[in-house]
Subunit: 194 residues, 2 copies
DNA sequence: CCTGGGCATTGATCTATGATAAGAAAGGTT
DNA sequence: AACCTTTCTTATCATAGATCAATGCCCAGG
C-alpha cells in the first residue's frame, strides 16, 4: 500500500490520524496476469488503484474486436467511472496485463474520505477535470491525426508503457490494426530524422 | 433567461429566494451568427449556457482544418472546461452557428451557487460525469466504427441538429470530409432498409 | 532442450475515405 | 428578380490503412 499511502497523503492531503481511519475501508487484492476483474453487464463497484502492475480497460464489439480505452500502471486509478457513479451496468472489460496489485476503492471509502478531508473532494474534482481534458485531447487526435502521428504522441505520453504493453494492444488503443502499427514503426525507423 | 431559470430551479434545485441572490451574478449576451467568443490562447472565463441558438467548439490545426468537438443548442452549456477550471489558455474556438443568446456563467457564480445550494455542487458533479461518459462513447465510436455508423449514431443522438447544422460541420464532427459524408448519405438513401 | 502458441513482421491485395475539381443547388443581400 | 457566396453533390483518381496469408520469432511450460 506504499504508493496509495503516498497518494492519499500528498494529493489528497489526508492527515496521519484520518489516514488511520480511512485505511480500514480498503482492501488490497492481487490480480494474476490475464484475469478479468470487470466485464460488461456488471456494475463497477470499485475503482482500482494500481499499486504495482498494469491494467487495461476495453470494449469488445459484436465481432469480438477489442478497443482499448485506457491503460493504468502504478499510481493510476482504473475504473468504469460512468458505471460506478451512475450505478449502471458497465460496457467495459477491465483486466490485468501484468500480475498486478490493486487497492479496491469503494463508494463507502469515497464518502468517508469526503467527510474527513476537504482536500479529498477537491482532488477528486481535479481528477475528473483531468480525465475530461485527457479524453478531449484523444478525441481531437482521433479526428485529426494519422496513425503515425497518434503513435508518436503515444510514445511521448506513455514512454514507459511502450516496453510493457504488447504492440497489438497499443495498436488497439490507437485505433489501428497490429499490422499497420508494425508498418508505421518500420517507416519511423527508416526516417530517423531528429 | 427562461430556460436557464428552469434549469437552475429543477436540475440544481435552487429555491426562489436563493435564485434572486444568484441571478445578480449573471449576464445575458446576444451573439450574432458567426461571432467567435473564445479563441486559442485566451483563458475561458465563462461557461456559456445557451438560452436560444446554437454554439460550437472546435480546434484548428496548422493547415487551417477545423475539428468540431461539441455542438450546444438550447439548454446546453458550452465551454472549454479545462481552460476554465485550470485557468490555462484554451486551445479551442467557440463560435455561434446561429444568432444565439447565452447566459455567462463565471467562476464567481459557481462559487456562490455552491455555497447556497448543496444540490448545485451535486448537479455539477453529475454534469462532469455525464461529460466523461459521453466522451468515452465518442472515443469508442471513433476507434471502432465506420463513417456510416458514426453518422447514423449522430442522427440518433442529435436528431434536431441535423437540420440546423450545415452538413460540412457534421462531417467535421464525425472526423470525415464533407464529400465523404455526402457519399455516405447517398448510400443510406439507396438502401433504406428499415 | 524441445515445442507450441501467442506476437511481430512482411507481402499482396482490397477498400473506405481523402483530394481535387467542377457543376448544381440553396440562401442572403442589394 | 438578379447576383454572389456558401454549401452540397458527383465524378475521378490517389492513398492510408484493412484484410488475408505466410513466415519467423520468442519464450513459457512440459
Amino acid at each position: 500500500m506504499k504508493n496509495f499511502t503516498k497518494y492519499l497523503k500528498t494529493k489528497a492531503q489526508v492527515s496521519e490520524e484520518n489516514f488511520e481511519l480511512l485505511i480500514k475501508q480498503l482492501a488490497v487484492k492481487k490480480i494474476a496476469k490475464g484475469t478479468v476483474i470487470l466485464r460488461p453487464g456488471e456494475v463497477c463497484k470499485h475503482s482500482f488503484f494500481v499499486e504495482k502492475g498494469l491494467l487495461r480497460s476495453y470494449t469488445m464489439n459484436t465481432s469480438g474486436k477489442e478497443h482499448i480505452l485506457q491503460f493504468g500502471s502504478e499510481n493510476w486509478i482504473v475504473a468504469d467511472r460512468s458505471s460506478a457513479f451512475f450505478n449502471e451496468p458497465s460496457e467495459l472489460f477491465i483486466d490485468a496485463i501484468e500480475d498486478t496489485e490493486v487497492i479496491l476503492i469503494g463508494s463507502d471509502f469515497i464518502e468517508k474520505a469526503n467527510e474527513i478531508s476537504p482536500y479529498f473532494r477537491k482532488y477528486n474534482q481535479i481528477a475528473l477535470q483531468n480525465h475530461i481534458r485527457h479524453q478531449q485531447k484523444r478525441i481531437n487526435l482521433l479526428l485529426s491525426a494519422s496513425a503515425e502521428t497518434r503513435y508518436m504522441n503515444f510514445i511521448q505520453l506513455y514512454p514507459d508503457l511502450i516496453s510493457r504493453v504488447p504492440q497489438w494492444m497499443i495498436a488497439s488503443y490507437l485505433g489501428i490494426t497490429p499490422e499497420s502499427l508494425s508498418r508505421v514503426r518500420k517507416e519511423l525507423a527508416n526516417k530517423p530524422l531528429k
